[in-house]
């Protein structure tokens, strides 16, 4: 009997040839990622148990990200506790404010995520990093304490749901639309406790940045992890960032999946998930053109460079509608800097957007764009639960950066295909992760990202 990609990854980390769904294993960890909100409580627990040293400082990465810069005294206390602890422990991989980023975007961008790794972090969107062929999952602070002390953690081997993404991605449709369509199909607990393994022809055409958006939202379907095979695109991404060796795992052809189905991405249109569940996805044309008080472009889901390029291509030369506020939050400092070099920040500023430093910020109702009662926000983030971005009387709609940019200009929910610049000439497809234009027919072009 063959094994799924997740089973292979877990077996390799518990000294076994194979594992089966449902069994409990103790796995070694290759990378533990720490941010300022969930790490200090874990550190306190270790102190209470008299454990003074982490298992291996070289396997830990630390950055503040939730409330950067500090939003209040409480968050300042947490950030300084994180800073003191990493100093005491001699953890070299530390990204201080000014060099920081949302951890799920920062870790792969800076070359710390390698195919074949096991990765945990006290944050549910850790699933993001599975796009590079890793087992990556979110845990609470108590499990984080155990992980930091021992470098190991027990896991129940999850069953795997296999999703094959097939077909060419239509013009104006992006990986965010794919994951919103998938969650609309299976529901917010459709993959509860399962591994979500992706494959299919459409996956190969997606850049690394686009893939992270899909694995990021595994948790929004209740998944334990999202995982994609590390193919040539993934290896090119990794090799551009590090010389560290790594191991690539593949699912067996006869792997046993709990369920398997295809998603025809060629039939998709831009998606909007209505309040207040990520599974409320509809085609943008089926959504009433509600007025938006705010548009938010950022987060670990859609705050990478490619996302900002797409948004800027729409906002360039346009103005944010009167009565709408547009907030752009690059996911990492490096994304911010590259956006500056490319002139994207100027495009956003000229359009009337606010550009902030990297932070989780308003995505979780923290700071830098919290919503008041009665306000509506179209956001490129991952959750639209009641009260997620502020008041429980506010409403959050989820969509792609393109749909967000179009909505910022229109002031009401808008179809990005009405605003995207139509390319004149198709370009060949490079494997470097940049948005590429692919010829699809006599007068039709696909923007494959």
């Amino acid at each position: 009997m063959g094994q799924t990609l997740t089973e292979k990854l877990l077996a390799a980390h518990c000294g076994r040839d194979f594992v089966v769904p449902g069994e409990i294993i103790n796995a070694t960890l290759d990378l533990v990622i720490c941010h300022e909100v969930t790490t200090p409580p874990a550190v306190e627990m270790l102190k209470k148990l008299g454990i003074t040293k982490v298992f291996d400082p070289s396997k830990i990465l630390v950055t503040p990200d939730h409330f950067v810069p500090n939003k209040d005294i409480r968050s300042a206390e947490l950030a300084s506790a994180l800073r003191r602890w990493r100093e005491e422990q001699g953890i070299a991989r530390y990204y201080e404010v000014g060099n920081h980023g949302i951890c799920h975007a920062l870790a792969p961008e800076q070359g710390h995520v390698l195919p074949g790794q096991t990765i945990v972090c006290g944050d549910s969107h850790t699933t993001t990093m599975g796009a590079l062929g890793t087992f990556a999952t979110g845990i609470g602070s108590t499990d984080l304490a155990a992980a930091l002390a021992t470098g190991e953690l027990w896991f129940k081997v999850p069953e795997t749901m296999r999703i094959d993404l097939e077909g060419p991605l239509p013009f104006g449709v992006y990986s965010k639309d794919i994951i919103l369509a998938l969650i609309a199909r299976i529901g917010v607990d459709g993959a509860r406790y399962m591994a979500m393994e992706y494959g299919g022809s459409a996956l190969q055409s997606l850049s690394m940045e686009a893939r992270f958006t899909i694995t990021n939202m595994a948790i929004e379907a209740g998944g334990k992890n999202g995982v994609m095979p590390a193919d040539a695109v993934a290896e090119a991404y990794v090799k551009a960032r590090t010389d560290e060796p790594y191991t690539v795992f593949h699912a067996d052809a006869d792997a046993a999946y709990a369920s398997r189905f295809s998603l025809d991405v060629g039939a998709l249109e831009p998606m909007v998930a209505l309040p207040s569940l990520p599974s409320n996805g509809r085609f943008v044309g089926e959504v009433p053109p509600d007025r938006m008080d705010q548009v938010y472009i950022g987060s670990c889901t859609n705050g990478r460079l490619e996302d900002l390029r797409i948004a800027a291509s729409i906002l360039k030369g346009n103005k944010v509608a009167r009565g709408t506020r547009a907030i752009v939050v690059p996911a990492t400092t490096e994304v911010w800097k590259q956006a500056m070099r490319e002139g994207l920040l100027e495009i956003f500023a000229d359009a009337g957007c606010v550009v902030s430093t990297a932070t989780c910020g308003a995505c979780l109702g923290g700071h830098m764009g919290v919503l008041g009662p009665g306000e509506r926000c179209l956001s490129t983030t991952n959750r639209n639960f009641m009260g997620r971005m502020g008041s429980t009387k506010s409403l959050v709609y989820l969509a792609s950066p393109a749909t967000a940019a179009a909505t910022a200009i229109a002031g009401v929910i808008a179809d990005p295909r009405d605003y995207l610049p139509r390319p004149l000439l198709p370009e060949p497809c490079p494997a470097d992760g940049k948005p590429v234009l692919v010829a699809a027919g006599a007068d039709e072009y696909l923007w494959g990202v």
Binding site: I24, V37, T38, P40, P41, M45, K48, L49, H66, F67, K71, D72, R74, S75, E77, L78, G122, D123, S124, G138, I139, G140, S141, T142, D143, A146, V188, D189, R192, Y193, I219, G222, K224, L277, L364, G365, G366, V370, R383, F385, M386, G387, R388, G390, S391, T392
Partner: protein, 164 residues
Amino acid sequence: MPKVILKLEHDISTDDIYPGRYMATVLPSETPQFAFADRTDFNASLRAKAFPPGSIIVGGENFGCGSSREQACSTLKGHDLAVVAKSISRIFLQNSINLGLKVVLCPDLEAVEGDELEFTTDQVLNRSTGRAFPQVRLPAARQGIMDAGGLIPYTRRRLQARPR
């Protein structure tokens, strides 16, 4: 006998249980004040200690979905509440075990606010309606951690029991 003090729908998120704006508050001694903070009447009753220890929140499917924040568990444990739900999201369940928040999985449960519930080893008995519903038991090792009050007390107890 403990009563149901709050009956909730499916997909109750951690943003509902413990809003993100309070995430910079982490100490289990301080998180209880923000339990269901945006359900202001219920929060006020909790803070006024209007409910006896062991009072029960009934959830539907996928209770505790969303963020991994442990405050969503510590805030309920701080009020000595128990959660009974048809299903529970993965991270919330794991955090509940680790923090010793009593959670019970009961896929078929029918109960309304005010009902008195009793837990046996394999059933939830609704004493107000006289009906019994099967529990899905946790593995014994996991239940042991929850019953010990969480992973830290459990580990400490095991370390102390070890011969020197």
